[in-house]
Symmetry: C2
């Protein structure tokens, strides 16, 4: 695209647009100029002054990947506390919990097709046990649905779960949700039918040689825990092709992975106390823990640093909230959800009320809007009220829709507020999700900062107008 004139979005234009074209009635009166101006100020601050991207960069490169219970997770928590302290919050405290501690160890997997070595890029899945000093060997059998296991002869064999993400899903999270059962339950269910290990096609959008880790789980009725290993989508295709050609594929693996005893950790809570309705809490959050292969940049360093950006921005703009704005950085979303559960328990015990909770845990890409859920008693009217803000958010191209919110905030549902998830563009996310490529270089500063600005704007609007 070449030279042509574009009109700048000026405050005047936004105002004219908001008041002339939409004129929405917001809860406690008409949208006033102040709201449109302040939302623009929030975005201006994000794109010209916020230090949130620098914070994210420091988290990624100094703490690094932050598996629950690892030293890096404590380093990450400490860094976030130091940032929040330097920004200046009214209260900063910890909600403690025990977290599982998974040890990746060393994986050695080799494959042969008709006796000839086939290279394979693999990584142990989270919470998987290892081979306890043994060499585990077996012929590979491809299975594409957990429900098919009873009908296949897998006794003494190694199962390859190979159902890809559905490429026709527009929102890649839907495709992820449609494939991830293999990763979570593949090993556990296979063990019931005598398999000795499970290999799982990486739950990723693209065809490449990068394996994706992620949680796996042994159900209580699992007779024998067997190792659970992810292989790259490219390698899964290669193996599948060989099996379909009637070739014999065998694998031999050793792994020193293990699940260690739980250990103490904590989530961080920082708040700006409300001046008029301090008992109505508006939460913003992300999870501080991450998988261990990359830097936990998109998942979920961005969510943490966007949540801190909300506090940074409101403080920088000298905003006095009517309601209590709380930034929560949850521990252990990836392999246990101990942080989300313990926070809800703490909050319920204190008889708190979260009017709204907003989680960012879908990557740091360009924000497309917000998806919302909540308790059936209150959800429809609350969503209706929330959607009235769409007109003010329109210059930023942000929708408000029904949809998932976030794993860490879901346990707050019983408090009957609204649960909201930041919804960034999802097309690139599952290329790098849970891989060694989830690093700061793959987070675009403007896209990330606009996500934090979107969250800040919604917090401001809910705080100003209620729900």
């Amino acid at each position: 695209m070449e030279f042509r004139q574009y009109k700048a979005i000026s405050k005047t234009l936004i105002l004219a647009w908001v008041s002339l074209i939409y004129s929405p009635q917001i809860m406690e009166g008409q949208v006033d100029d102040q709201a449109a101006f302040f939302v623009k100020d929030i975005h201006n601050y994000a794109l010209s002054e916020s230090e949130a991207y620098d914070h994210l960069s420091t988290l990624c490169t100094t703490a690094g990947p932050r598996l629950s219970g690892s030293q890096a997770s404590y380093d990450g928590l400490a860094y976030c506390e130091s940032v929040l302290t330097s920004i200046g919050v009214d209260t900063l405290y910890r909600v403690e919990c025990d977290v599982p501690r998974w040890y990746r160890g060393v994986l050695d997997l080799s494959l042969q097709v008709n006796g000839k070595k086939l290279p394979v890029r693999a990584t142990a899945l989270g919470n998987s046990i290892g081979t306890r000093g043994n060499l585990v060997t077996g012929n590979l059998v491809e299975v594409n649905h957990l429900d098919s296991l009873p009908f296949r002869d897998i006794e003494g064999k190694i199962v390859l779960f190979n159902r890809p993400m559905d490429p026709t899903q527009i929102r890649t999270f839907n495709a992820y949700g449609g494939a991830v059962d293999q990763r979570v339950f593949g090993a556990s269910r296979s063990a019931k039918y005598g398999a000795v290990a499970a290999l799982v096609r990486s739950v990723g959008s693209d065809i490449d040689t990068v394996p994706h880790t992620g949680v796996s789980s042994y159900e209580d009725d699992t007779p024998t825990k067997i190792p659970s290993i992810a292989i790259s989508t490219f390698d899964a295709n290669q193996i599948s092709q060989a099996l379909h050609q009637g070739k014999e594929v065998t694998a031999a693996l050793r792994s020193t992975s293990d699940l260690l005893p739980d250990t103490a950790s904590y989530s961080i809570v920082a708040e700006l106390r409300g001046t008029e309705y301090p008992d109505e809490i508006i939460l913003v959050g992300g999870h501080i823990d991450s998988w261990d292969l990359g830097q936990g940049a998109h998942d979920d360093g961005t969510g943490c640093m966007q949540s801190i950006q909300v506090i940074e921005t409101l403080k920088a703009l000298n905003y006095q909230p009517k309601r209590t704005i709380r930034c929560v950085l949850f521990i252990n979303e990836e392999n246990g959800l101990a942080g989300g559960k313990s926070y809800a328990e703490y909050s319920n015990n204190a008889n708190e009320y979260h009017l709204a909770a907003i989680e960012s845990d879908a990557g740091g890409f360009s924000p497309r809007g917000f998806t919302c859920t909540g308790h059936e008693d209150v959800f429809i009217p609350m969503l209706k009220n929330l959607k009235k803000f769409e007109s003010i958010l329109e210059p930023y191209d942000l929708f408000i829709k029904k949809g998932g919110a976030g794993a860490d905030i879901n346990p707050l549902k019983s408090q009957k507020g609204i649960l909201i998830g930041l919804s960034p563009d999802s097309q690139r996310y599952f290329d790098l999700h849970h891989t060694a490529q989830d690093v700061i270089e793959n987070v675009h500063p403007r896209e990330f900062l606009l996500g934090g600005a979107a969250m800040t704007s919604l917090v401001y609007l809910i705080d100003q107008y209620g729900l």
Copy 2:
């Protein structure tokens, strides 16, 4: 983000959603199931079967960058004709025109700060002349607005235009529009006040060492044409800092750039003839020419191949259009607009009517929607009718708004149809626009294909329901 259930977008859900929540009245009756289903089919095809990304990849890697009049531009045109022929269109022809032919040549620019060499990453701007065998030297003077030139002493000096893109603009095209006057007119206007050359801060969003080329222009009253050179944003900042510290910055440059005589070229027109209203044309297009530093991938290989994707998809789905669907690949958008102008002239002479023209020339990133403009006699009612399609496009998160359309289709305004621009996410575009980084590796397949699917969907809806 970890394991949780997401509901897939099924056809049933789309249908339920479209009919229960929105129930819009579309022009010729209610939205029928068929429309929602067909738009989903278009997207399914794009994400699982379309060959458009392969076509783009071939264009980028075999023809390469396609400066107007270059051999590569003819290779690119020929490749597009071969793809359209293999897809099978009713008519394929050329609209001929003369195009300017710019020769980049070799640039040698060196800078000194207080006599000490400062490295600088530079590239000649398009249509700039060179130094005609001379060494051009001078002290640098920083100027940030064309309007300031009369008040500065630039006689015998080299002007550095250094106003950055405004980072607070949400849509980066607005920031581009606010800075690009320096690149287009900087040299021409400086020459009037005696400057010997112009250096221009690259019109790019990020701070890096990658120079951005782009068109520059000598106005008719330019007394002496002087060279026009872009330098990287990082280097512009370094020079500016030195000047603000009172240091002397001098430059010496040689360049063999030149503007050669016009040469013959052409735009491509391919059409599917309408069965009911063949005289109502719905155009989709992009420009086949590009700058010469990268591969012209985003600018505008994507627009060309998305336009071809529209035809590919409608053919593959056995769609019989009511109106005439025309794919136009324009030549010379970057440095003359000869293709867009000659096409409009041809079309007006043939008394044609373009009901709608859709251009994709804003990058191959995730589609956010469409922006529209048109002749004042018809625009408001046409936009109103077009916006009724938003409900069917809602599962794909696509807006329809007032805004710019595209340089190549703007000359069609007098035909009083609607002019529409595909509006992709703009955050990353001006990092690589007109640089060596505009290559196929930086085009994400799903983002690109979704853009083509969005265009196809809108073409289908306009064809079905009129405007």
